[in-house]
């Protein structure tokens, strides 16, 4: 009977109730949407690398090393010598290593020189390996494997030939035109910087730079590579997988105090979360804005109900005459507020689900951004709880006004 009364009361004031309901729906949608995007961004960020115990590069800042080795952002301060790399790779605790040689690009996308171990050992997300959508890993010197976004946005297919540019600008003037590469494989989308990378072998990096000195091509200095030793002199960084996690800190200390070269080892997970921390101000600002939008709409709800109390004086008197205690009238106002708010939450969630379903495909296709439709995370459930409690709190104002009318 109580619920029926509250629903009938709302139905009798369709116009103002509908507008208030829409305001709450939109603001809950904003709040949940921001939260959803924040969580997804965070998890996709934190899942950029996994299964890698250490990243080693020339001594620089932790975050800088992570940025250039994993995110392909910024520049390495220095290279590390092949000898140092070999020395550390030979450590009995090391299970495998993935060398990384950066510095070249193709139409704005970075080229990474590495070995076949990259396809075997690199992990992202929840320990997901790299999978080739088409083709196979590079086996010939002038073969490369494209990240999914590179292939899609530049329209490359298996067998296409392309030319790498020296340096990182998309309009680099010095190109390795004499050594075109053939696309051997295309990776599946990962939602990580891998998608924006062209992978070649370390030897290929060495080969295209033979005949160059100090970053400048010397005409006529090039000669065939057939009998040449293509072992690189240096690489940019390397990733390390250990036999036992227990050795992580010991090896990290060994590398950081390595005598013959200034090296640095970072734990990617730790540094990823440090990097995310730097963005927390932005996160909190977004949350704050969303919370304020919600507060505004809840106050609107309270104002709408408060304004209705005056016209409901007669109805309150009737309820009192037939034996309703003042608390019943108070509860009725609260119930009406709650119904509007619950309706708003419900519709906002439906809206969010449909948006994610529709936009999710587009985001995955265009930006390699994967959003899983997991809506009822404990975090979001907590937010909805807070919305409900806030609704009850703000509707105390019209509730008390109605209670006074009922007792007076």
């Amino acid at each position: 009977m109580f619920l029926r009364l509250a629903l009938a009361s709302l139905r009798s004031r369709k116009g103002s109730v509908l507008l208030t309901f829409l305001a709450i729906t939109v603001s809950v949608f904003v709040l949940l949407g921001v939260e959803q995007i924040r969580q997804q961004a965070k998890s996709s960020f934190n899942n950029t690398v996994s299964g890698i115990d250490l990243i080693v590069g020339a001594r620089t800042g932790d975050i800088n090393l992570l940025l250039y080795s994993v995110f392909r952002l910024g520049h390495a301060s220095n290279n590390i010598s092949w000898q140092s790399y070999q020395h550390i790779a030979a450590d009995p605790n090391v299970a495998w290593t993935i060398p990384v040689a950066l510095g070249d690009s193709h139409k704005g996308y970075r080229v990474m020189g590495t070995t076949a171990d990259y396809f075997n050992h690199f992990r992202f997300g929840q320990n997901r390996p790299l999978v080739l959508a088409e083709g196979k890993p590079f086996s010939q010197l002038y073969e490369l494997v494209l990240g999914s976004e590179v292939a899609r946005s530049l329209g490359y297919q298996i067998g296409d030939e392309l030319v790498l540019a020296h340096g990182l600008g998309s309009t680099s003037f010095s190109q390795h035109k004499d050594k075109p590469f053939r696309v051997a494989g295309i990776l599946q989308a990962t939602g990580t910087p891998v998608d924006q990378t062209l992978h070649v072998s370390l030897q290929a990096i060495e080969a295209i730079h033979s005949g160059w000195q100090n970053g400048v091509k010397i005409p006529g200095a090039d000669h065939g590579h057939d009998e040449e030793d293509l072992t690189p002199e240096s690489i940019t960084a390397f990733m390390v997988g250990l036999k036992s996690k227990l050795a992580t800190f010991r090896l990290q200390r060994q590398i950081n105090t390595y005598d013959s070269e200034a090296l640095q080892a970072i734990l990617p997970g730790v540094t990823l979360s440090q990097l995310w921390q730097m963005m927390s101000a932005m996160e909190n600002t977004l949350r704050l804005i969303a919370a304020l939008v919600l507060l505004a709409s809840l106050l609107g709800l309270a104002a709408m109900l408060l304004a209705s109390i005056k016209e409901r004086q007669g109805e309150i008197a009737v309820m009192r005459a037939i034996g309703a205690p003042p608390l019943f009238v108070f509860a009725l106002i609260q119930a009406e507020a709650l119904l509007i708010s619950l309706g708003g939450i419900l519709v906002a969630n439906l809206l969010l689900i449909s948006c994610i379903t529709v936009a999710g495909n587009v985001l995955a296709e265009r930006y390699s951004l994967f959003i899983d439709g997991k809506l009822l995370t404990p975090q979001l459930a907590f937010y909805m709880g807070v919305i409900i409690v806030s609704t009850l709190l703000v509707s105390v104002i019209p509730g008390i006004s109605a209670y006074r009318k009922a007792s007076g």
């Binding site: 009977m1 029926r4 009938a8 139905r11 007669g314 008197a317 009737v318 309820m319 037939i322 034996g323």
Partner: protein
């Protein structure tokens, strides 16, 4: 004795002016009293005291052996729902509920269970077509609303029905119909009636006709 009043005094909180001062007044079960008096004689205050919406400043009201002032406010609300029916001049119904739901709501507070059948029978006997039972009260004519109000007031079979100027918003035809239907219902249930009105022509057939000024000693120059 259904209702007995002894040394009842009332003044509003924060105002020392005594509004009501009734040394003695009684009502027997099934009795019908026509109460009249000019505006400001304290009629609505008197009715609110009987209903337990106000509490006496002194003395007391005893109904069915229960001193009303001894009840806590929640208990008074229950008492009112169970034992007293009301019909006012207008605005007797929750406007957005149908006639039937208005009756259900009253039954809910009176602690009655499912009253659908009783409500339908009552509304039909009051001359309301079945399709009107489901219409929101606000869409009924005033005459129809007043008839639904009788049904709502009587659904819990109260011992006392209080009506306050119930016909002043009605035309002559509807007024006569209202009075006739009211009489019928009261006779059936042996309900006592306090009928407050200016219109002395409505006092026909009432067991007593009294002026509140005669009962109320407040404001009298001794």
């Amino acid at each position: 004795m259904l209702l007995s009043i002894k040394d009842l005094r009332f003044h509003y909180p924060g105002d020392s002016k005594v509004v009501l001062d009734i040394p003695q007044w009684c009502l027997s079960a099934g009795e019908q009293v026509f109460l009249h008096g000019p505006s400001g004689a304290g009629k609505s205050t008197f009715l609110k005291l009987l209903a337990g919406l106000l509490v006496p400043s002194g003395g007391g009201i005893t109904m069915l052996g229960q001193p009303l002032q001894a009840l806590r406010s929640g208990q008074r609300d229950k008492w009112r729902a169970r034992h007293i029916g009301f019909v006012f001049q207008q605005f007797n119904l929750v406007p957005y509920l149908s006639g039937r739901d208005n009756i259900r709501l009253a039954a809910h507070f009176g602690g009655k269970g499912d009253v659908d059948a009783a409500a339908t029978a009552l509304l039909t006997s009051l001359g309301l077509d079945e399709k009107l039972h489901r219409k929101p009260a606000a869409e009924l004519s005033i005459g129809q609303q007043q008839r639904v109000a009788i049904a709502r007031a009587l659904i819990n079979q109260p011992e006392l029905l209080i009506v306050d100027e119930p016909t002043s918003a009605l035309d002559a035809k509807n007024r006569d119909l209202f009075m006739a239907l009211l009489g019928e219902q009261l006779a059936e249930n042996n309900t006592a009636l306090i009928f407050v009105s200016h219109d002395l022509s409505l006092s026909n057939g009432m067991s007593r006709v009294e002026s509140l000024q005669d009962i109320n000693q407040a404001g009298r120059v001794n």
